[in-house]
Symmetry: C2
Subunit: 317 residues, 2 copies
Amino acid sequence: MAHYIGLDLGGTNIKSGVVDDRGQIVAKLSRPTRPETGPDGVLASMVDAAREAADAAKIPLAQIAGVGIGCPGPLDFQKGLVKAAPNLPGWDHVPVRDHIARALGRPAVLENDANAAAFGEFWVGAGRDVQDMVMLTLGTGVGSGLVVEGKIIHGADGLGGEAGHLIVQPNGRRCGCGQRGCLEQYASASSVPRRALDAMAAGRRTILKPTRADGAEIDAQDVFAAAQQGDELALGIVEETAFYLGIGCVNLCRLLDPQMIVFAGGMIHAGEFLFDRVRRVFGEHSWTITDNHVQIVPAKLGSDAGLIGAAAVAQAK
Amino acid sequence: MAHYIGLDLGGTNIKSGVVDDRGQIVAKLSRPTRPETGPDGVLASMVDAAREAADAAKIPLAQIAGVGIGCPGPLDFQKGLVKAAPNLPGWDHVPVRDHIARALGRPAVLENDANAAAFGEFWVGAGRDVQDMVMLTLGTGVGSGLVVEGKIIHGADGLGGEAGHLIVQPNGRRCGCGQRGCLEQYASASSVPRRALDAMAAGRRTILKPTRADGAEIDAQDVFAAAQQGDELALGIVEETAFYLGIGCVNLCRLLDPQMIVFAGGMIHAGEFLFDRVRRVFGEHSWTITDNHVQIVPAKLGSDAGLIGAAAVAQAK
């Protein structure tokens, strides 16, 4: 049985694990990223995390078949570089792949973090029985990975698979990417409370309060909770979220015709209250000239998807 | 040098040609489809057209390396069937691929007609120097083909690559497919005069007349001509067409990051008057976090793209 190391580099944590060739985690660990240590410090920490995972799994590095690395991007896939990373100050064309391969003495593969997570779900999660799958991660932003005929789509310059920046409402809400009306502006976990606060600022009545008892701003969960209690403002926000997710799903189907669209990220805790609405919008807005059999389902691997997917990328190499 | 036969089945004409392995047409011909003869009649005619092309090229059938067949769909790629075809009454799961392979004694491959045309442009037309390309054919509808890393995207059920049915305006104009706000409703050659006529019916002033001297309804070319003369209504229609094409291009880039987007079909005769506007909208609406280097260009192969592309599909098999 072959074993792979999966590394998942985030702005907050580095996750590392040894994963076998059936996608089972043998050992895993997490340590803080400490971005302030710069590329050199973070790379050294990633190497340590990989070694520790191998130790914990009691598998000598020499028996690790490959290392997969999920990183925020944009990346240069050919050269194995992280070109830049919004949450990692000072990262400018960092040769992550070759550094880690050299330090560990094992072949390494670099992948975008959202793609890696999608590939993990594709390998042993929600998408394990399909060949064509799209995953949308509804977090602070909306990340995505497109798997077509079992392979991740990168695009000519490594910038494909950004479904969070599909324009779903021309001239709609302004996005940090410079576009207007991106799916992310309606479907990310952070956009939900933001739109609720906008509506409250405009004087709409609601049971929601701008801040919680602890002084923190409300989050998506608060809005969903209010919607489930029948609050009209909150319900309107949830319906709008589901509407644009549904339109986004239609567009993904028209281009890629996947068997499955998987939603991941914190927002999926809203469960069927959200999924039912998305499926209804999809059904109402998708074409009628063929059956619409795409499955719209929640992810299964939770926060392990990234490191399992990184290992999957190493295996698929 | 290997030779292939390309067949391009349309509702009006069957085109047939012998194409060499560098994409040059050695011989070609066209004959009426006569859909009223039913699947058997049309298939017999396709076989005849293939034989005639080989005769005209003076290449014995036995030396033809393969036959590519571009057909309207939906298709069953696995089984080589045309499941249905709106312009070919009575076509219900017709085994086109195997019938033609058997009749000609050569291996045959079936492909969607829009995909085949895109693959032709990719092989030896506008996209000959790129690996990732999207083609939109702006005809009666908007057909499309997506080429990713040199391969056509089909989707799980053969229904991918339908960029004409991307929803670019949620709850927008109703489309024949059952959706609302499809790109096709704003960017097809038939939608241009239709929207002009709608605006005239609503009382807008224009130099356009609903019908021409010969009694025929106006077409896209009339609208573009009026726009070039400064007619406000016509110019508004052209701007709207360019706007939605630009938004569609942004969305194609976010998912697939192609090097090139090619427009084909009658509408491209409008030339830079249209392309300039589309590129401007694209530039204004695409993200600013990376350079936007996609080329948006006209197709080069004209009405030969379909048969050249069918031959290309046979070669790529």
